[in-house]
Symmetry: C2
Subunit: 193 residues, 2 copies
Amino acid sequence: MKRSKQVRQSELKDTIKETPFITDEELAKRFGVSIQTIRLDRMELSIPELRERIKSVATHEWNETVKALPIEEVIGEVVDLELDQRAISILDIKPEHVFSRNNIARGHHLFAQANSLAVAVINDELALTAGSSIRFNRPVKLGERVVAKAFVKGDDHKGRTIVDVHSYVENDEVFAGSFEMFRDHDPKEMNEG
Amino acid sequence: MKRSKQVRQSELKDTIKETPFITDEELAKRFGVSIQTIRLDRMELSIPELRERIKSVATHEWNETVKALPIEEVIGEVVDLELDQRAISILDIKPEHVFSRNNIARGHHLFAQANSLAVAVINDELALTAGSSIRFNRPVKLGERVVAKAFVKGDDHKGRTIVDVHSYVENDEVFAGSFEMFRDHDPKEMNEG
């Protein structure tokens, strides 16, 4: 049964609030309407398009600069960053990311997005991955958008920084990893500085 | 102190026997002589050049075909393969594989080599990675050659195939990973077929 326009717009607003990086295509699919309808809904609701929503997150919350590597070496687009705290990046799964045979994203691209985000979140000039434990929870398909969220858990007994990364397609967790990061300074100094 | 030519050639022969995928550059560095000297030594000892050594391994031992993905989608060059048993691939670390800042190979390329080898060794049309636990034991630098060796350990209680991969630069283990592979058939059938 089709929702009324009012119900749809209300749900659309909530959906975008919960998952701000969702595309018009995904919204259209979810609500069973055309992309054009979603665009009109957004205009009526004054919800900016995705690119603007990403920029707005970046401008308002992302006041820090990646330290451990040049930003262009991060796999995916960093849209949020608080050094030694958390970071978010977005990766759109394109033909070069998938197995030709079944259009499923290859694991190493999801790993690369997560691992480079774990590097990027470190507030240090040198960050290297010492180890990692990861899960691929469901296949990611061509055209899907993967939002990776990194969270710095703290340091282990060897002074390595543990960064957990969870990656989502819409609300499904598709990847989870814990990264043990080596960095080039005594982490105790940082708490003092 | 320089080795005599005789001693060097004897050691050279042993070194190539132990690490057949070593380059002339690496040999020259190790023996403290020029690349030209290594080439002359090889000619006198009738040891073929690296490319020929790789081909010879491939021709003699690699009688099987990768099933789970097209061979060109394997990251690195497969030089040995016995399906559901073991596989070896070689990846030369080039500028596109390293952090621009320190010429250290990025973790996801070593992961990609190992993970795609773990896929390639599976004797099935569909192989997907369910999870993995990995260690990066020492940084790999630009110009180094990484030899990854995959070994199929068997199936776990969930019917996932466990593939261990160890990657080496010369004799140093630089990466170790255990991959839990999902495949699309009942592994019991395979033992019967």
